[in-house]
């Protein structure tokens, strides 16, 4: 049986495609080194257009207006440039209200595209540009630690990681955030207060990595300019031991936080990348693997939600205390206890 994989790796090769959602312009070259917050491509995702009624402006019916149009598709115009006219004794004209590009002119109208701030696609990880995908994006590669999460507010950041979570069960409150943390990426446990997110934005932090979060905080987190990501899920959940150990041992290192939302259709998932030199030949880990004995697994649902263990055996169909009958798996935890769980409730950790 195949199971999804959550990557929590101390050192691996990380290769990511960074793509624009529409065609745009690539602003880096192959072989270039980039940092997580560098812009690698741009596109006009929020275009601004003006549709001018030339007929009305000139006081003519549409069929008589076109002969007075003074621009054509593709022309760049400055504010004040004449687009149509002059017409009549009053020498009526229609002028461009802003600097723009003519998209189409005719039928008594002209459509202008106004320059708008383009969307900037960030690298999201520090590394080297390995490949260019024409008009769409780049492939970036690096080596280092990789810790994947489950939720992010879309922000991207890079900075020194400070660990407030001294235990996996840590709870973050506003009073724990000090001014001296400004500019850093904070690792913490559970957050249930909107004020924490607001304070993170006021300092500001460069990123906030949480073990878990109350769903009531989502609206504020989504609006925050600080990249916020959640490792485990919603409700009070301790950080899983694999992520806790890996992240806390890397305190005071520079980390990249890519808090892009988990999108199964593009493959993007919120993740923390800690650039580290590779000790030798490291390979990319696969995103799906066979559930087999010996694999390290993570339990997604109660009654052992958030626990990490080793798969002892993939069993047959079993009826669970809920009464639901499903394929089962026997897992041994670090404390030596064992539990039978639905195989569908497992992720492989690798």
């Amino acid at each position: 049986m195949l199971a999804p994989v959550r990557h929590i790796l101390p050192v691996t090769t990380i290769r990511r495609e960074r793509l624009l959602p529409i065609q745009g312009k690539i602003s880096v070259r192959k072989g270039q080194k980039v940092s997580a917050t560098d812009t690698v491509a741009e596109a006009s995702l929020s275009p601004a257009h003006l549709l001018l009624d030339l007929s009305r402006g000139l006081g003519l019916p549409p069929e008589k207006t076109d002969q007075h149009i003074q621009c054509k598709a593709g022309d760049s115009v400055d504010a004040g440039d004449i687009l149509a006219g002059p017409v009549g004794l009053a020498r009526r004209v229609v002028r461009a209200p802003k600097k723009a590009r003519v998209v189409v002119a005719g039928g008594g109208q002209v459509l202008l595209e106004v320059q708008n701030k383009p969307f900037e696609l960030k690298a999201a990880l520090p590394g080297m540009v390995m490949d260019l995908i024409p008009e769409r994006g780049v492939v970036i590669e690096t080596t280092g630690a990789l810790i994947q999460g489950v939720w992010g507010n879309g922000g991207i950041g890079f900075g020194l990681m400070l660990v407030l979570a001294k235990t996996p069960n840590h709870v973050l409150t506003r009073d724990q955030l000090e001014v001296s943390y400004r500019g850093s990426v904070i690792l913490a446990g559970h957050c249930a207060e909107e004020d924490v997110i607001k304070m993170a934005g006021e300092l500001p932090l460069r990123g906030l990595i949480l073990a878990s979060m109350a769903p009531s905080v989502i609206p504020v987190a989504e609006k925050s300019p600080v990249p916020v990501m959640v490792l485990e899920g919603f409700g009070q959940r301790p950080m899983n031991t694999a992520a806790f150990n890996l992240l806390t041992t890397n305190e005071q290192r520079e980390v990249a936080i890519n808090a892009e939302p988990w999108d199964p259709y593009t493959g993007t998932r919120p993740e923390v990348i800690i650039p580290l030199p590779a000790p030798g030949d490291t390979q990319q880990s696969k995103d799906v693997q066979v559930l087999e004995p010996g694999k390290q697994v993570y339990i997604l649902r109660a009654p052992h939600a958030g626990k990490v263990g080793r798969l002892l055996s993939a069993g047959g169909m079993k009826t669970f205390p809920s009464g639901v009958r499903a394929l089962s798996a026997l897992v041994r935890f670090d404390d030596g206890t064992e539990a039978l769980v639905p195989a569908a409730n497992l992720e492989i950790i690798q």
Partner: protein, 572 residues
């Protein structure tokens, strides 16, 4: 015949063939769906599901080159016909365009909800924005589908064409590979002008006017055009879908459309004054399909699916409304957490009693919300304020129902979620075949009819739900049941109770109903008595006298006691 369904969580391969001269459902193979990461190709899941089916049946269906063997060979390999349905994929982004907010735009929104969509923007005359702002909005949102309606036939024209101006220019400015599908279903007299203004700028399709007069809404034909457009969008979005559509001879259907097709077929076949209701509570969406005299009302609500879209339920239901269905005291925060965690991991299962209770409470609530939305499209002649119109049969599908620990708990969810009135029969699509039979009907209608007639669906039983008001404990109905073997049972039903009288499958009985206090049991009006023949089912004859609309006890202790008692009545 082989039918493949690609769901959000599972891909299933269903095999049908002739046994003893009649079509029968033989077996199903399944595998996790692979539309999303890390495969991004439905073909992988389809392959594994077929391989699973081959292991179960011992029948070879795909050859060494992983191609479907069609038609079947003399030595029994392959299949003669193939159909496919799909519900996997993110909801399609739709821009709805109509003239008036509460006329054509409302109908356009309902048309959008006949498949897996989210309406991300609306444009109408009431919209104060100028054309350029509308253009920019469409460009920013990058919709998959633009639905345009407006103007009765022979009615408004200039206003419709003005609305189309922004659509046309936005499509002109969109890169070829991202151009949306545009469906025009407005004033038919404008067809040629619409064609000349949009051809070349968008993938343009036409459907009959969904609002031919102010009083009439007709979504039927347009629904089919929308279903075909959504299949085309999926083929562009997800690898492997085009191949699946080719195997199906271009007939790939959204699962909900195929499900609706079956419900419509049943409505025509039964030819009854009652409607036929189908409910599918899936991971992608909750689908409500109601047909009256062969006219289908279809509502597909991804925001009510028990998967990635589940947080959308909270736009229409408070946590307290969900909590009312729980037999124990669960903090509202826990329900909130559950909803968001389930949306992160849609393929996971409830292993504890507490989590199962929350999941089943959510199933009830999504059915309530889905019915509330769908009821807006029911014919005015059958609409009853706050109550479901008389329906028979009621067919239910979806893993939360079919994998319920007991049939009794499944029927409880259906009764609480749907709250039928009068007399109805409840049927469970145990093998998730309803959509497959709807898809098969286009190719081999006899197969669909014969499989429906077989015992593939679980007949849960007849449910009698009196409607009226009384104090709890008041006798409101006398029921006398005379079985075919002569056994007679008489029982007085009290208001507020749930009762079940055993009547096994294969047996029938005549039931005489005598309501008191002007309760309506569906015999022609309040207080009217009558008799009918009922057939045996897994849970017999169930009398749900808990009231309509159902009001659950607010006190947690009383609610727990009541729910346990009701469940025990239905066999646990």
């Amino acid at each position: 015949m082989l039918v493949i369904d690609v769901g959000a969580v599972s891909t299933r391969a269903m095999l049908f063939d002739v046994v003893d001269g009649r079509y029968r459902f033989l077996a199903v193979g399944s595998a996790p769906s692979t539309d999303a990461a890390p495969f991004y190709d439905v073909g992988e899941g389809v392959q594994r599901a077929i391989e699973n089916l081959q292991e179960i049946t011992g029948r070879v269906i795909i050859d060494e080159n992983e191609r479907l063997i069609i038609p079947a060979t003399r030595d029994g390999r392959g299949v003669d016909t193939f159909a496919a349905t799909i519900s996997a994929g993110p909801p399609l982004k739709v821009v709805a365009v109509g003239l008036l907010e509460d006329v054509s735009l409302e109908s356009t929104r309902r048309l959008a909800k006949t498949t897996y969509t989210g309406v991300i923007e609306t444009i109408s005359l009431n919209d104060r924005r100028k054309s350029d702002a509308r253009i920019d909005s469409i460009l920013r949102l990058r919709p998959d589908l633009i639905l345009v309606a407006g103007g009765t036939d022979g009615g408004a024209s200039q206003s419709v064409l003005k609305l189309l101006e922004a659509v046309g220019l936005a499509c002109y400015l969109t890169a070829d590979e991202q151009k949306p599908e545009v469906i025009y279903a407005g004033n038919q007299e404008l067809t040629e002008e619409v064609r000349s203004s949009l051809t070349g700028f968008a993938s343009l399709h036409f459907a009959p006017n969904i609002r031919p007069t102010l009083e009439m809404e007709n979504l039927d034909a347009a629904q089919t055009v929308v279903a075909e457009a959504s299949a085309r969008v999926r083929a562009r979005q997800i690898a492997g879908v085009r191949n699946l559509d080719e195997w199906a001879g271009g007939g790939l259907l959204p699962t909900a459309s195929a499900f609706g097709r079956l419900i419509r077929f049943l409505s025509r076949a039964y030819d009854s004054p009652k409607g036929v209701l189908g409910v599918d509570v899936g991971a992608s969406a909750t689908t409500i399909a109601a047909a009256f005299h062969g006219d289908l009302t279809l509502g597909v609500y991804p925001e009510y699916g028990l998967g990635r879209g589940l947080p959308g339920l909270l736009e229409d239901a408070r946590l307290e409304e969900i909590a009312q269905w729980l037999p124990q005291n669960v903090p509202l925060e826990d329900i909130h957490d559950y909803i968001y965690n389930k949306s992160l991991f849609p393929g996971t299962l409830p292993a504890t009693k507490e989590e199962l209770a929350i999941e089943q409470a959510l199933a009830r609530q999504v059915m309530r919300c889905g019915l509330r939305r769908a009821a807006g499209g029911f014919p005015a002649s059958v609409s009853r304020r706050g109550l479901l119109p008389p329906m028979e049969p009621i067919l239910a599908s979806g893993s939360v129902l079919t994998h319920a620990p007991t049939l009794g708990s499944c029927l409880m969810m259906m009764l609480d979620g749907l709250q039928p009135v009068g007399v109805t029969t409840m049927v469970l699509d145990q093998n998730h075949l309803a959509a497959a039979l709807g898809a098969a009907a286009a190719i081999n209608p006899i197969l669909s009819v014969q499989v429906l007639d077989s015992s593939t669906f679980v007949y849960l039983g007849t449910v009698i739900s009196p409607v009226g008001n009384a104090r709890p404990g008041t006798p409101i109905l006398r029921l006398r049941m005379v079985q075919s073997n002569g056994n007679e049972t008489t029982i007085d039903i009290k208001y507020g109770t749930l009762e079940a009288i055993p009547l096994p499958l294969g047996q029938s009985a005549r039931v005489h109903l005598q309501p008191f206090h002007r309760f309506d049991v569906g015999m022609g009006g309040p207080g009217r008595s009558g008799s009918l023949v009922v057939h045996g089912g897994a849970l017999g004859v169930v009398i749900d006298a808990r009231g309509r609309p159902l009001r659950m006890p607010k006190d947690v202790g009383r609610r727990q006691e009541a729910m346990q008692k009701w469940l025990w009545t239905l066999g646990g």
